[in-house]
Symmetry: C2
Subunit: 670 residues, 2 copies
């Protein structure tokens, strides 16, 4: 699998993509697009008109003007879009205000002509998607910025395109959420799944149950005003907000506040480590339901959306097994397994939610024959959790449940974006139209064990744009090269929304170097990736909530750019050993040598020290590489070289160099 990926990857970096409509940097790619070959030139007289001041469109168009102004540097005179201004060049029209429900129409059409641009949509949200597409069309030559003339008709493949942000394991202030919401809207994502509670923190202000914040949050929680503010902010971007209160497991922070509804008599504390823990609500205690009713009655009205996520995952039932009262209850109620007991709990919770106008959604463990068909199943477990490929998604759809996919979209695992992009929500499953209709879409999940406000963006972006495309665009849009090309350009463009995915990497490197001179460690960071699939935090015990997260690994990202480039070069060279490729590889080697030389000029501190040997080895292998390519292999013995590569392959401060496999191949050591 890996090899195939690598091959697919490479053309992009070395040859560029063939010219066609593919010069456009649209993501997600629209359903129908026709490119003509004129230009709409942007100058200071550019004016925007909307056909109504209702809904979100005045905000969207004003943001549009600001962003085009700053991206182009054109001193656009018009400060705010006007309503029904016939003199405008850009006309944004829609028929009705969006209801911001699952049934919302998100389609739009966008026609750019030489002298006029028309966006039309059924809803204001659709229209604002048209504006996002138009921003992505922004192009330039050396004289002016322009929009290429196009005709676009667009609508999504899936109606649920979500991003989960875990604000429990590390609290994320409102500004972090807002900038990520802006970025979501920019790639036409429409569900913000707000993971609000977990063992490590309860993040919703409760006035009725004040101990939840006092004892369960370390003072880090969203006030009800802030929650409303975020929900409104999301609504203005066409994004639904799905709250999650995770029960009956993942409940340490709840039980730190209200231990009396726990399944075991013990001291409960906010959990500081990561992993799966035992504290669990007692489903046999009526007070548990009183508590949940109270909580839901207060929280439910803060959110406009009809769905309410109750978690329901990873309850291993240890405390249930240990509790005689619970065992007796199970017998009395003919509940054979803990899973049955949890279903009993879920069904009671569903009734509470219903009382407050909400529909239950939960992780796929809730899928049992007894659970009502109104429940929405969130598929997350996959091959790693012992499930067949495709996980619970197809099973749920076939069993009559609406369902949403997160298997394959776990962006916290720090795997290549290619893997997420190639996730096929439906795969080869044969479904009836009704079954197909139950598959609503998917969600990228940003679990926050290892991310802080300073680092979270670089874990989410730009990769999530590719997932957004997977969920919006037709399944035929699957050219990895083309995606990667657009992604790298989209990435810089997203910075205007305030995302920190690029800039905060440098902040971390300056923190490590204690200097503004970071070229050398930046190079090393661009050759390295954080350990993947939870290896960085094995068993969840290396890092705690308040561990340092301004480390080298935090400055590294998946798809390390210079490593990807180098690997492509090597692959091309091995296929076709021209002087051209050879010289490009030598150029890279020389940059590694220079990088280490510069690194050695930094004032050493412990965090740099721990990179020194690694970098020294990079220097050595580069030196060898240059000799090797120039046919002067005498400096190293094969044995030495093997040892060197073995050293390079070893994780270093929770990162791994991504160039080693290529080096084995290049040096013929496989």
């Amino acid at each position: 699998m890996k090899k195939i990926l690598l091959i697919v990857f490479c053309l992009v970096f070395l040859t560029g993509y063939s010219q066609k409509r593919s010069d456009l940097k649209l993501m997600p790619w629209p359903k129908h697009i026709q490119v003509t070959h004129q230009k709409f030139i942007i100058d200071k007289n550019f004016k925007v008109s909307v056909n109504s001041d209702r809904g979100i469109i005045l905000k969207s168009t004003t943001n549009f003007i600001r962003r085009i102004t700053n991206k182009s540097g054109v001193f656009i005179e018009q400060g705010f879009a006007e309503v029904n201004n016939n003199d405008a060049q850009l006309h944004v029209n829609f028929d009705k205000i969006s209801n911001l429900e699952l049934s919302n129409d998100e389609s739009y059409s966008l026609e750019v002509k030489e002298d006029q641009i028309i966006i039309h949509a059924i809803t204001d949200v659709g229209a604002s998607y048209g504006l996002e597409t138009l921003i992505q069309l922004l192009s330039f030559n050396n004289e002016y910025f322009y929009f290429p003339t196009v005709e676009i008709k667009d609508s999504p493949r899936f109606k649920w395109r979500g991003l989960l942000i875990d604000t429990a394991r590390h609290f994320q202030p409102v500004e972090v959420l807002k900038r990520n919401l802006r970025a979501m809207a920019a790639v036409k994502m429409n569900v913000f799944h707000w993971h609000l509670t977990d063992d490590q923190g309860f993040r919703i202000e409760s006035k009725k149950l004040p101990k939840l914040n006092e004892l369960g949050s370390d003072g880090l929680y969203y006030t009800q005003e802030q929650i409303k503010e975020v929900v409104q902010y999301a609504s203005d971007l066409g994004i639904r907000v799905l709250p999650e209160i995770d029960v009956p497991g993942h409940a340490s922070s709840i039980l730190a506040a209200y231990p009396e509804i726990g399944s075991k008599k013990q001291d409960y504390r906010i959990e500081r480590f990561s992993g799966v823990f035992d504290p669990t609500l007692d489903p046999t205690n009526e007070q548990t339901y009183v508590f949940l009713d109270t909580l839901i009655s207060e929280v439910a009205p803060l959110f406009k959306d009809v769905y309410f996520h109750i978690g329901g995952d990873e309850n291993e039932g240890k405390h249930w097994d240990e509790n005689q009262k619970i065992q007796t209850f199970k017998k009395l109620n003919h509940l054979k397994t803990n899973h049955d007991l949890q279903t009993y709990f879920n069904i009671r919770l569903e009734k509470i939610l219903e009382k407050y106008g909400k529909k239950l959604m939960g992780w796929d463990e809730i899928l049992t024959p007894q659970i009502p068909k109104s429940a929405l199943i969130h598929s997350w477990r996959g091959v790693n959790e012992g499930l067949p490929k495709g996980g619970a998604l197809i099973k749920a759809a076939k069993a009559g449940y609406q369902t949403v996919l997160s298997t394959g979209f776990y962006i916290d695992r720090m795997e290549s974006v290619v893997k997420h992009y190639q996730t096929k929500p439906i795969g080869k499953a044969v479904l009836t139209p009704e079954e197909r209709a139950r598959i609503l879409g998917g969600e990228a999940t940003m679990w926050a064990e290892l991310v802080t406000p300073a680092t979270i963006d670089s874990r989410i972006w730009p990769r999530t744009a590719a997932i957004a495309e997977r969920l919006w665009s037709s399944k035929e849009v699957n050219d990895v090269d083309f995606m990667l090309k657009r992604l790298s350009e989209i990435s810089v463009g997203l910075e205007d929304l305030g995302l920190t995915h690029i800039k905060n990497r440098d902040v971390i490197l300056r923190n490590i170097a204690k200097s503004e001179s970071i070229t050398s460690i930046k190079l090393l960071a661009d050759l390295s990736e954080p350990l993947k699939i939870y290896a960085r935090n094995k068993d969840g015990i290396e890092y705690k909530t308040f561990s340092p997260f301004m480390l080298f690994a935090d400055a590294c990202v998946a798809d390390a750019s210079k490593a990807v480039y180098f690997n492509c070069l090597v692959q091309d060279y091995l296929k076709n050993p021209t002087e051209g490729y050879k010289n490009k590889i030598i150029k890279e080697f020389k940059s590694w040598q220079l990088g280490f030389a510069n690194f050695s000029n930094l004032e050493v501190n412990p965090n740099l020290m721990s990179l020194k040997k690694q970098y020294q080895n990079v220097f050595k292998v580069a030196t060898y590489g240059i000799s090797f390519l120039n046919d002067k292999k005498k400096n190293f013995s094969k044995k030495e070289l093997r040892r060197l590569l073995k050293d390079l392959k070893e994780p270093c401060v929770d990162t791994e160099l991504m160039i080693v496999d290529s080096l084995y191949k290049l040096f013929n050591l496989e």
Copy 2:
């Protein structure tokens, strides 16, 4: 003057500062410091104890632990400071809760021994200053991070050390204020002057006068909840918040909402340009005072501080002159001049403020014989406004008024930090102890005509740290070299507070380059500075509120680092033309050549195009410079060279290259 500055500047960059206690990066420099030569080593068992959970100290110490954790990368086990933990190594003790008034005691002592650290202060604010000093002491070798052992006794020279942020001309969201408040506390500043209203916007939510927001703010204002949140946030950092509502001039946004209290019957609109405008409240209309009473009654309670700034500046009285009713009023009330009329207005306003428990503060125009001695005079006018050096400050103090200085601290003018640092609040004035006591301190002023949330930090920081030192430290602390050395290191350290002063420069450059490859334009940006003293926005008409501010000039800062370095090199070379200096200069020239070569590889867009000629000339002059230093002058005629330097001296996209004077000298063309 300029030449003297340049000489003072130079040693720093080329020789480093001599070793003594000056390895410490403290800023502001403390009153008494004794350095011994041991180390307190930080390891994971580092524990902090406070002597009380009252006041701000638990928050300060928790922040301290987080920051030390991230700066050092040490996995400190203790998540939160504990109260009276005898096993702790760092003990933070204070006697009483700060009142956060002018009389607040801010002194502290800090003793670092090999195995223990003790901070003691009268107040919790003083104690948290001790923590800030301790953070700045953080040092490292290649094995561990440590605090050097010291004994510090510290207290401020002035009790008013402020930063004004203009949130009217460009709105600054709460997060911008918060991060700047954190940075203020880090350099022991204690007054946030919140310029809340001006011609370009009224930024306070008013429930009693709702049109102020509806018609006067473009929807960009602080809710009352947010104001309270910021005030609380500031209080937790030991910072007083001084609100300013600017009247009777600077009132376009007020009059856009309530034109009936204006001095002229006309359409009023929110002002989009910069400068001094005519719209002025009518001081002869009783409704004006009803309006002000209503507004103050609502706004005053949001702020804890006793001072309330009413602006009062730059009223040229044009509309008063044009209004017959106002002229009649003046005659009837024996008010000879408009200044007299404004004093009448100020005195009435003072009574309203008094009613709501506030004392009046205003810009120095309010200083007239009639104004009560309780008024606080804010000196801002200087030589540029036709006043003698020292401005209104000494005059006010001698006349019996308390006073605060901003002349010399106008950081929006984009002048060298050296100039601000060398501002002498008292100068050579001879003052009685009573007069001296009336000089409370000073304020840096960040006027926001040309700054947005994305750029404001790079205009404020790190320069304001030097002003903080001017106001905190003894006047004998005035070594410019030493200040500059510390400033450049403090700058990187401040990033951990979320400041964007370094990282957002790159964001702008990426926006201009439309690429992550910005090395070449970064170099040009580090040789260039934005035009100074309002030349960038001559007569206030080039830029409007919603003009683009992601331009090259926005990525440039005062004290352009590579230009300063180059100028020092040239100066040293001319004094002492060694091979060493020569080679260093040649190295710089080569980097300019390489920079232009890389620049030429970027895909050209209009914003790059406008830099191209400039950069080309830098390339040419570098090429000449190399020949010149190598005694091969044949490539250029003097005439050509003069023309080239003249070209280079010309402003380009509102920036100027800061290397040209040195080039004239180097090439003997003066």
